[in-house]
Symmetry: C2
Subunit: 387 residues, 2 copies
C-alpha cells in the first residue's frame, strides 16, 4: 500500500479527529441541537441532556470516577486554571502552592498568578529522565495548600508515578491536581486507587474535537468557579454545555483500544532505535514502560530543531521541536533544561508524536528524512566537528 | 410540501448548525487538524493559522472592526466575563459598575461577583417594552468604571438603541460593553459608528457551532485575562484556538442574508398577529423595527408557561418559557417583571424563536397547537374566569 502524505507526527500537540467521532458530533449539530435541558424541558432539550449525561458517565468510567465528579470545560488550559486557582482561592488560606519544573505553561503561569496574589509558588526538580524528585517534593509539600504534578510530559514522554506521588500528598494532607492530558486513554488511571483530587482530561489529544475538556473533581473538594453565570456543571462552570463536542469527546474515549496502545509502543521503540542510529543523537526522556506509548524525543547534536522542523515540513513530515525560535516566547524547552540537558540539546530537540494511525512505513520515512536533513545541516555547520 | 417535524421554535436558546458550516468544520477536523502555528511552524500549522486569521477577518468585517480587535473565546458567557471583569479589574479603580435589569445571568452575576470584591453594581431600570431608561442610566454612569447593556434581549426581543446609549457612555467617559449575542447578524452594527468598547458575539445562535464565541475589544482597551497560559489571542485568552469551530463560526456569519432577516420579520409579525387572536393574550416587548426579527413573546392569561412548553413538546413543537418551574433557579422571568409585568404574566410567558428555516406552515402549526393547549388548560383552571 502506498504511503499517504502528509506524515503527521505532531500528535503531542493536536490530533486528527476520528471519523466516528465526527459522525456522533454531526448528529448533535443536525438532529438534537437544543440546549441541554434542566428538570423540565421539551423533548429535544431532554435528549440533549441525556446525551450529555451519557458522555459524562463514559468519561467517568474510564478513570473510575463518579459521573458527578466530571466537570466539562473548554479544554485543558481552562481545566488546569480551574483546578489550581479554583481550589487555592476556595481554600481561604495563604501559603505554598507546588508544582514541578517540567509543567506546561498553563500550570506554571497559574502558579505565577497565585504568586502575585501573595501565595508562595515552588517548583520541584526532576531527574535526568524527567521524574519528579520525590524527596524534594515531599519536603516542599509540608504545609502547602495544593500541588500540581502532570501525569505525562508532552515533550519527553515521562510518566510520573502518580500512585507514589499521591501517597506523598496524602501524607502531607495537600490537595493534589494532575494534568493528565497526555496520559489519558494511553496509560491506565483509576482515581479509586490513586490519591489524586483533581485530574485534567483533554479531548483534542485523543482524536476528539478541540475546544472541549474535562476536570475530574473528587467529591468534597471545594472549588471556586473561574467565571460567573447561570449554574451549570454542578455550579462549577457556567455557559451552555457544548453537547456535540462533549459527545464527540466521549466517543473518542471509547474508541481507543489496548491494541492501539500496544501498536504505538512497538512503533515508538522502533522509531527510537532507528533514530539513534544517526550519529551524535541523544534520546531525551525515559525508555520502556515509564514512557508514554506515543512519544519520541531526540536531540541531534549540532543541528537546530527549528531548521529540522521546516525542512521536514517541506518533505511533508510534520513534527515538533523544543527549539527557541519555534516557541512564541523564543525560549528553548524548559523541560529538557530541567532534566539537566544543555542549552544546545534543548535547542536541537525534536518531538515526534505518534497516533493510532501511524504506520511502520511512516516511521521509516521519518527516519530517512531526518537523517538526510541532519547530514546536510551538519555538513555546512561551523559548530559541528566531525570526529 | 408536507411539514417536517419537529417544529423547532427555541432558536433564542440554540440553533441547528448549518450543513455548510459542518462541511467547513469537517475539513479542519480531518485535513488541517494541526494546532494553529506561530511565526515558524510546519505547513499544516501554517494552514491552520491562516484559516484562523481568515475567520477573524470575516467576523471583524461584519461589525466594522479590525481583525486584531477580535478575540476568540469558548462562547458568550466567557466573553461576557472577560469583558466585564477583565476591564474592571485591569482598570485598577474601585467604584460603580452599571448594567440593566433585563440582562442575562452571566452579566448580572459578573456584577454580583464584582460587588463582593468591593465594587458597586447598579442596575438601570427599563420601560414597559424593555428599553433602558436613558435618563436613569445617564445618572448612574457618572463616575462609573464600566457599564454593560445588552444589544438585544433574548426573551422579549427588545433592540436597545446602542448609538444613543453609546453617546451617554462617551459623555461620561465610561467603558461600554454590550452582549450582542442575540443581535449579531440580525441587526446591523458598526463599531466605527457606535461608541462601544467591547462586544460579545456568539456562534451558537446563528447556526454556527456551540462552544465558541468572540469578544470585540476596541484598540486601546485594557483587559486582564480570565485565565493563565501560553499567550494566544493577543495575550487575552490562552488555550489553543479551536480552529474547526472558529472556522465554522465565521462561515455561519457569512451565510446569513438580508433575505433571511426580511423573511423572519414577516413570519414574526404573522405569528404575533395570529397568537394575539387568542383571547386574553398579551404581547411582551416592542413591535416593528425595534424588535429583533426572530423573537415573539406572549403571555396567555391563566395558563402556566411550563405546562404549555410540556404539552407543546408532546405535539413536537419546541419553544421556551419564562415560567418559574422551567428555570434552574425556580424564579419567574426577571425580564418581564422588570418591564412592569405581573408575576402571573411572567409565569405564563412563552418565547418563540424563529430561524432562517422557519416556514409559514410551522407558524400556523404553532398557533393551532398553542390555541388548543390554552383553551384546554383554561377550561380546567380555577383561576381563569371566562367573561
Amino acid at each position: 500500500m502506498p504511503m499517504k502524505f502528509p506524515v503527521y507526527l505532531d500528535n503531542m500537540r493536536a490530533t486528527k479527529v476520528d471519523p466516528l467521532v465526527i459522525e456522533e458530533m454531526v448528529k448533535y449539530m443536525q438532529e438534537i441541537y437544543a440546549a441541554p435541558g434542566g428538570e423540565f424541558g421539551h423533548s429535544m432539550e431532554e435528549e440533549a441532556a441525556e446525551a450529555l449525561e451519557k458522555a459524562r458517565q463514559k468519561i467517568a468510567r474510564k478513570i473510575g470516577a463518579k459521573p458527578e465528579e466530571i466537570v466539562f470545560t473548554s479544554g485543558r488550559v481552562e481545566s488546569n486554571n480551574l483546578a489550581i486557582k479554583g481550589t487555592v482561592l476556595a481554600s481561604g488560606k495563604k501559603g505554598k502552592v507546588i508544582s514541578s519544573r517540567i509543567e506546561e505553561s498553563s500550570v506554571l503561569r497559574s502558579l505565577e498568578s497565585l504568586g502575585k496574589m501573595g501565595f508562595n509558588p515552588m517548583l520541584a526538580p526532576v531527574d535526568s529522565e524527567g521524574f519528579v524528585k520525590q524527596e524534594n517534593l515531599s519536603e516542599m509539600l509540608s504545609g502547602a495548600i495544593l500541588g500540581s504534578i502532570q501525569f505525562v510530559n508532552p515533550e519527553i514522554g515521562t510518566i510520573q508515578d502518580l500512585k507514589a506521588i499521591g501517597d506523598l500528598f496524602e501524607e502531607k494532607n495537600v490537595i493534589f491536581h494532575s494534568d493528565a492530558s497526555w496520559g489519558f486513554c494511553k496509560v491506565d488511571i483509576d482515581v479509586r486507587k490513586i490519591n489524586v483530587d483533581l485530574l485534567t482530561l483533554s479531548s483534542g489529544l485523543i482524536h476528539g474535537p478541540k475546544g472541549v475538556g474535562a476536570l475530574y473533581v473528587r467529591e468534597g473538594i471545594k472549588l471556586q468557579p473561574l467565571f460567573d453565570g447561570a449554574p451549570r456543571e454542578f455550579g462549577l462552570r457556567p455557559g451552555m454545555e457544548d453537547v456535540p463536542s462533549i459527545v464527540g469527546f466521549a466517543k473518542a474515549v471509547e474508541l481507543i483500544t489496548e491494541e492501539d496502545i500496544a501498536r504505538m509502543k512497538r512503533l515508538r521503540d522502533k522509531l527510537m532505535d532507528i533514530l539513534l542510529e544517526i550519529p551524535d543523537t541523544k534520546l531525551n526522556g525515559p525508555k520502556g514502560d515509564r514512557r508514554v506509548c506515543n512519544n519520541v524525543n531526540v536531540s541531534f547534536f549540532g543541528v537546530e530543531g527549528e531548521t529540522i522542523l521546516l525542512k521536514a515540513s517541506m518533505k511533508n513530515l510534520f513534527l515538533n521541536t523544543g527549539s527557541a525560535c519555534y516557541s512564541r516566547e523564543l525560549l528553548p524547552s524548559h523541560v529538557i533544561l530541567a532534566t539537566g540537558g544543555s542549552f544546545e540539546q534543548s535547542h536541537g530537540s525534536v518531538t515526534l508524536g505518534l497516533s493510532k494511525w501511524t504506520t511502520e512505513q511512516e516511521i521509516f520515512y521519518a527516519k530517512e528524512v531526518l537523517e538526510e536533513i541532519v547530514r546536510e545541516m551538519r555538513s555546512i555547520s561551523p559548530l559541528y566537528r566531525r570526529s
